[in-house]
């Protein structure tokens, strides 16, 4: 099928297009030079904005922890439901939508590629079953490897290459996309109810430190030539004073950087940018982190913005979730996974009038505004931890409009307002910068070649928003901007119109992308390995990998490793 999008204002930062009026031609799911004008279906995008489909680098949408969150919270769903239509399945929201609804709601906002950031390898089949039931978007998932016993043991012995071969095996067998590290070492300690406090704490029984794990996996990542960097949830997350840990984490691999390329992604950085000795004296550490990031090129970040709403927190960081339970007294789920990782879930309500929550809200925006280069920081809420992904348009409005920020600042806790750096920040992001932070930058950081841009050969994943950059001043009319990003005029996936006139018009299954990592000497499933496997896990080695039939549409990406 051919499609021609005419006369839109195109924002394609990767290809240096900044709001120029031009046509975009689509054929067989790809962007092409031109199409047969008479035959092609035409979309008149006059007075509208055309962008690559949105890319989300970090949002918890599938797998065992997300589903435990769903199960835990009927009260989150019962008022927010979606009826079945002629083309769509029914479902529920709010903060942890059911799978179909997740896909539809992303599509409604013009998003087309989603990264699910935490997959316990043992339960990877579950993640993939859910991803296969998440329509409208392409997706991928990051296996949790920072506390995997094999990794800890190889790194302790300094066997980087063996470790790399095993990581290659696990990424390929779990159909994963990147190395995810959560509170390195802390989750193993949590197995007995403990945690680590600094990068140099010894992990009980394993004679290794978080610093060694992060550095080791960073080296592994490079040896394997993976498209994305290591994806790190820092130690001490959610604790006052932890901005120092975040800085140390970035510094600890500084020497491994080459060619000004990013080698680490610090995710939901807001939660790692707390200054102050305790909750009472909590302050923003955004400035310190921004200064560091502005001076270095080996780091990318995402915001992890907080929204004032009732949401559900869920991370693999078991000890952090327990702390949240203690703070809030809300119901608490813990799910430790043998030999690998843990997970925790606690419902949480961010309140404008709470000092801590208001400071957190401010930190996220400060990070995004103080970091000068939009290619280094991306828009996320760490869905659903800071708030549901459906609140992205709200964040876009805050980033583009000082006035929007002031409107919210007026309503927050007064002490937090007086401490916030936001009143001193005049920066208002442009549409180009928003396009970078919500798609181009994310795609680039992920190494997704066909996503996040509209160049010839790119995937025809396109969002059209009903906004005319020539007539609208986003600084003043931020509400209109918010509304437009909330509901795309058109969402196009694989070259097909899937969303228009406020409705899903086509149910389309997206692909699951995964890395087929080729190493010269693959990790062998030897008898010794089989024996260790039996000792470590309670399932048979044969039953551990995710076979391709678990992926509705499988899209392997070949990676040639350097080992």
């Amino acid at each position: 099928m051919e499609l021609l999008i005419r006369n839109g204002f195109v924002y394609d930062p990767i290809n240096g297009v900044d709001g120029e009026k031009m046509d975009i031609a689509v054929k067989d799911g790809k962007i092409v030079e031109k199409v047969n004008e008479r035959k092609a279906r035409k979309i008149d995008a006059f007075g509208m904005m055309v962008m690559p489909g949105g890319v989300d680098i970090h949002c918890h949408i599938a797998g065992s922890e997300v589903n435990s969150g769903r199960l835990l919270r009927p009260e989150d769903h019962f008022r927010d439901f979606e009826r079945k239509t002629a083309v769509t399945r029914s479902g529920v929201g709010y903060s942890i939508p059911s799978t179909f609804t997740t896909g539809y709601r992303y599509s409604r906002m013009g998003y087309t590629t989603i990264m699910n950031p935490s997959m316990p390898p043992l339960e990877a089949k579950h993640t993939h079953e859910e991803l296969s039931d998440t329509p409208m978007v392409d997706k991928a998932s990051y296996p949790l490897l920072g506390d995997w016993w094999f990794v800890l043991e190889y790194l302790k012995d300094g066997k980087i290459e063996e470790c790399a071969r095993h990581v290659a095996w696990i990424i390929t067998s779990t159909k994963g996309y990147a190395i995810k590290i959560v509170n390195a070492g802390g989750l193993e300690a949590w197995g007995f109810g403990g945690n680590v406090q600094s990068l140099d704490d010894q992990i009980p029984c394993f004679c290794i430190t978080p610093r060694e794990i992060i550095r080791g996996l960073c080296k592994v990542n490079r040896l394997l030539n993976l498209p994305h960097t290591i994806h790190v949830h820092t130690n001490n997350l959610g604790k006052p004073g932890n901005y120092i840990t975040a800085l140390e984490t970035m510094k600890c691999i500084e020497d491994l950087a080459t060619e000004n390329k990013p080698i680490i992604h610090i995710t939901h950085c807001q939660f790692s940018a707390f200054k102050g000795g305790d909750w009472r004296t909590l302050e923003s550490g955004a400035e310190e982190i921004a200064n560091y990031v502005n001076a270095h090129s080996h780091v990318t970040l995402d915001m992890g913005q907080v929204i004032f709403t009732d949401t559900t927190t869920m991370t693999a960081d078991g000890p952090f979730q327990y702390t949240l339970y203690e703070l809030s007294g809300n119901k608490w789920v813990n799910h430790d996974v043998e030999t690998e990782t843990s997970a925790g879930i606690v419902p949480f309500h961010y309140l404008r009038k709470s000092y801590v929550h208001a400071i957190q809200w401010s930190i996220g925006l400060e990070l995004a505004l103080l970091i000068k280069d939009p290619w280094k920081i991306f828009l996320t809420t760490d869905h659903p931890n800071g708030g549901p992904f459906t609140s992205y348009p709200r964040i876009i409005a805050w980033l583009m409009s000082r006035k929007a920020r002031e409107a919210t600042l007026k309503k927050i806790n007064p002490r937090a307002r007086s401490r916030s750096l936001l009143p001193s920040i005049n920066r208002e992001l442009s549409f180009k910068e928003i396009a970078i932070m919500t798609r181009a930058g994310q795609a680039k950081a992920l190494g997704l070649k066909g996503k996040g841009h509209l160049g010839i050969g790119a995937d025809a994943d396109i969002a059209i928003y009903n906004l005319n950059p020539e007539t609208i001043d986003p600084s003043k009319k931020y509400r209109i901007v918010r509304k437009a990003f909330k509901r795309a005029a058109y969402t196009i996936k694989n070259g097909k119109i899937v969303f228009k006139n406020g409705e899903i018009v086509k149910h389309l299954d997206g692909a699951t992308m995964w890395l087929d990592v080729k190493v010269s000497e693959p990790a062998k499933i030897s008898e010794d390995m089989r024996r260790r496997f039996r000792e470590y896990w309670t399932v048979e080695c044969e039953n551990y990998p995710v076979t391709e039939n678990y992926l509705e549409i499988s899209q392997p990406i070949n990676v040639e490793a350097k080992v």
Binding site: L72, R73, P74, E75, D76, F78
Partner: protein, 274 residues
Amino acid sequence: MITLTPKKEFRFPVIAECINPDIFHDKTTKEIEELKIWEGNKQKMLGELFKVEENRTENPQEREAITINGNLNKVRRIGAGMKSGEIIIHGDVGMHLGEEMKGGKITVHGNVGSWAGSMMKSGTIEIHGNVSDYLGAPYRGSIEGMRGGKIVVYGNVGNEAGAYMKNGLIKIYGNAGQFLGLRMRDGTIFVEKDSGGRAGACMKGGKIVVGGFLESVLPTFTIDSIKEKVKIEEGETIAGPFYLFIGDLVENGEGKLYLSKEKNPHLNHYERLL
């Protein structure tokens, strides 16, 4: 005044949140008949299931009232979320009567299903009959119990009446089932007759008064004193004597559980601790 009469004996669940004085307000009979209602998995119009009659009256209070006559035990969500006006029902009613009610009054001359007055915020529900479980209790997974208002039941109630109650008053002139006032935080529950076991389980605050028999007090309650009388609401005090227990210890609770001394002689061994 609007009078509704079911046109048949319902077999499938009927979801009728449209039966609400706020929605009927200012609508003609025809418009009321066209309101959407679900019977099983089919959407219908109110007029297909109910005969709708309007009796003109000058009394402004009565004008807002809805009277329903007949067996409504399959009809759910009547008066859900209502803010004002009155519903009078002659017959049995199904689940979720007056759920999340914010004002007005519902009177039932008959029995009522579970979750009556669930998550109620204000208003009055008066039931001249029995009620099933979860009276005034929240939705699954939620801790938002009754926030205010008043529920009076002249018959018996099932389990978990007043669970997670935050405020308001529940008066039961018959017997109550198990777990009366479960996890309640404030407000008052009065049961004139007997209560099933585990009354006040996990309560953090509030007051439960049982005028009749309670088989045993949870081990996590501690005896405080014997009181001669206890106040139920403004202007209503019940004469005792009552054993006053404090609990639930497992929640570091300070809830008050009053039990009639006369009706509970098996609890006299607690007196040695006083």
